[in-house]
């Protein structure tokens, strides 16, 4: 079975059917469709981080670099006034991001723990200042994407990216695929070695595995997916800004991932929806939303051990 936990299966069968039907209820209000879309995009980003932090034990505070890169890369390689193919450019962007991740990963994975947090932050900050300081990339004002890609495969087009509902389904599909992808990855031989490394690096080395290679591969995969999320984010409103690469973006993603339950993968979706949902409700309710947000975060750390997913599992799993 792809999902070995009952909680995970319940989540899967509740979340995806609901998400599939949601636009039918919201057809009148394009904003909520867009809002849910952007939460799903960020959930995809958080999920890629969750794999890295929770599954591989590689804590990074520089993941936003790839998120921003996804957006800027599209602006760089796509012609300005011509609709390119979405899938082809998805491939390009993921490949370029993977190449960048390969080089940076090669450097940062020599460190571990808090030192890795800080060295990933260092690279992300360099990228952040590179984009905010250069006039060619629009500086702090950012850039506009004028023409969105078309999505045909062999002449058949399923999604019109200018239609919010279509874009919603594209992002839902992406989120679904990413979740399934990570589940397959985790259950594969590769994933088992990664788990073993997280559990006990010394022993895994003794078994003859080159743990550096496995970590590097994981870093590359997560970074490419992070860039894909940034690419989707950029396409949603056609706007790229260096603040996408700011350390606060990495920080928020980390918060959502911890909140959801580290390493559970599906927890990333839970964490993102809970955090973004609370943020949305509170900021519309009171100007002092930060006070309540902070208090709720503190309360949730105290109450949930191992995040929301962890607490749900404690409640729902049969004790054997």
């Amino acid at each position: 079975m792809l999902f070995n936990k009952r909680t995970e299966r319940i989540f899967f069968w509740v979340f995806f059917p609901l998400a599939l039907l949601m636009p039918l209820f919201l057809a009148e209000n394009t904003f909520f469709v867009s809002k849910l879309t952007s939460i799903m995009i960020f959930a995809l980003f958080v999920m890629s981080l969750d794999y890295l932090v929770g599954r591989c034990g590689l804590i990074t505070l520089g993941h936003a670099m790839f998120y921003g890169l996804g957006g800027y890369l599209f602006w760089m390689i796509a012609p300005e006034y011509e609709a390119v193919n979405f899938w082809v450019y998805t491939f390009y962007i993921c490949m370029i991001a993977a190449a960048v991740a390969l080089i940076i990963g090669f450097l940062v994975l020599r460190t571990s723990g808090i030192y890795m947090i800080m060295i990933t932050l260092a690279f992300a900050q360099m990228a952040f200042y590179f984009f905010s300081d250069s006039i060619e990339f629009g500086g702090t004002d950012g850039l506009f994407i004028y023409v969105k890609p078309e999505t045909s495969i062999f002449g058949l087009s399923f999604f019109d990216l200018d239609n919010p509902t279509h874009f919603y389904y594209l992002c839902l599909l992406s989120l679904f695929n990413t979740l399934i992808f990570f589940r397959i990855l985790i259950r594969s031989r590769f994933g088992r070695v990664v788990d073993a490394i997280h559990e006990n690096p010394g022993r895994t080395t003794a078994l003859g595995y080159n743990i550096f290679v496995f970590r590097l591969m994981s870093y590359v995969i997560a970074s490419a997916l992070g860039a894909y999320a940034g690419y989707l984010f950029t396409l949603q409103y056609g706007f790229v800004n260096p603040s996408m690469l700011a350390w606060t973006t990495s920080g928020s993603a980390l918060v959502m991932s911890i909140l959801g339950g580290m390493g559970s993968i599906y927890g990333a979706i839970l964490g993102t929806f809970v955090y973004e949902g609370l943020h949305y409700v509170l900021e519309h309710l009171t100007e002092h939303w930060m006070l309540f947000m902070g208090a709720l975060i503190i309360a949730m750390v105290m109450v949930f051990k191992n995040g929301i997913a962890g607490s749900m599992e404690k409640l729902l799993e049969k004790r054997t």
Binding site: D141, Y237, F239, M290
Partner: protein
């Protein structure tokens, strides 16, 4: 702590949609004013002042609204550009705001613009100076009641030349507004034969200015021209004084250097000379009345950000009045707004074809903790609106 008005409005709106079966006359619905301003963080003070001014004007001008009620939707942008398109889309598609007021930060302005250009709402920028807003990206439904970055700084070049300064060092944070301000100063200063001997761009939001000031002291130019605002402006002016440059090398600036910051800067700001589209001591009745009632209501001195918010309110009220309270025709509304002469505390101003104010720029100096007007540095100055086809 919870905004009870907001809660009540939300409830009323919800009940209205549930119970009303007969069509409502457009004029009986409230005019929805969405605000996208920073209410927390580094730019929080600017957002607060803008909102105060805006609400004050709309309250004073209530008679002009032809009985239309107002509904405010206020969202904290946190000055985060990447969130701007989403918040703008929320105000446009969810709240269906008639007016969307914002932002303070230029990056946020660009994100809003991407979503709101050419849409069924009117966007009014009460601060952000980003050139493109009323330049290459100008749009019929986008107005600005503040300034383009070019406007307040351009006249200072001539002022500097008149004072006999030939060699000047310019300095600002390395971001859009700062760079545009320095360029505007340089444009008029070098055209008149001046020379910018060094241009210093400080990474945003760094406020360690000592190293730069030591270097400026060693260059010893005729004057220094800077753009800084808010907390950075406070720190810069204090450092300039503490390191002994004040009184030896004249400090010139875009007026934001001494707006909303004078109390924190204290005596260090005395004598600093700036150009801006407003000055505290402007001698007109409107300004005096505005300053008195602002001080009475909010317990602190008003600044340019409050004036800009206030003028945004005046502009909306005047257009609503002209249309007899019916703002459902967007074309008519845009026309009315564009033709408004805003009777502002800064002096009357009109709008250019690109929807940017055509306004006086004043030369001011700080005296006894006030921006005192010296003269009009450039009368009825219009932004060149490079790239705008309106």
């Amino acid at each position: 702590m919870f905004n009870s008005n907001k809660m009540r409005n939300a409830l009323v709106a919800a009940m209205a949609t549930l119970t009303l079966s007969s069509p409502v006359l457009a004029n009986e619905q409230p005019i929805k004013v969405g605000m996208m301003l920073p209410f927390s963080g580094v730019y929080g003070a600017l957002g607060d002042a803008t909102r105060n001014g805006l609400k004050m004007a709309l309250r004073e001008q209530a008679a002009q609204l032809h009985g239309r009620k107002l509904e405010f939707i206020e969202i904290d942008t946190e000055a985060r550009p990447e969130r701007a398109p989403e918040i703008a889309s929320s105000l446009l598609n969810n709240s269906e705001a008639d007016f969307i007021i914002g932002p303070v930060h230029s990056g946020v302005a660009m994100g809003m613009l991407k979503v709101l250009r050419g849409k069924e709402t009117v966007m009014i920028v009460p601060n952000a100076g980003a050139g493109p807003v009323t330049g290459p990206l100008c749009s019929p439904n986008v107005f600005r009641t503040s300034f383009s970055s070019w406007q307040p700084s351009y006249p200072m070049g001539k002022v500097a030349l008149d004072k006999g300064y030939k060699k000047v060092v310019t300095m600002s944070w390395n971001y859009g507004m700062g760079k545009e301000s320095l360029d505007a100063f340089e444009e008029s200063f070098t055209a008149g034969g001046g020379e910018v001997v060094k241009k210093i761009l400080v990474p945003f939001p760094k406020t360690e200015f000592q190293a730069y000031l030591s270097e400026i002291a060693s260059i010893n130019p005729d004057a220094v021209f800077v753009f800084f605002a808010g907390g950075g402006a406070v720190k810069f002016v204090k450092d300039y004084d503490a390191l002994g440059l004040k009184g030896k090398i004249p400090l010139l600036g875009s007026g934001f250097l001494t707006e909303g910051t004078l109390e924190a800067q204290g005596p260090a700001a005395e004598g600093v000379m700036t150009t801006l589209h407003y000055a505290d001591t402007l001698d007109n009745e409107l300004n005096k009345a505005f300053r008195t009632s602002y001080k009475a209501e909010f317990g602190k001195a008003s600044d340019i950000y409050a004036v800009q918010g206030y003028d945004t309110g005046l502009m909306i009220a005047s257009a609503v009045n002209q249309l007899g309270g019916d703002i459902s025709d967007q074309q008519a509304l845009i026309k009315a707004l564009g033709e408004t002469t805003v009777k502002s505390p800064r002096g009357d101003f009109t709008f250019s074809a690109a929807h940017n104010p055509v306004q006086n720029i004043y030369l001011r100096t700080v005296e006894n903790g006030e921006n005192k007007v010296i003269e009009v540095a450039a009368p009825a100055l219009a932004d060149p609106a490079r790239g705008c086809k309106l």
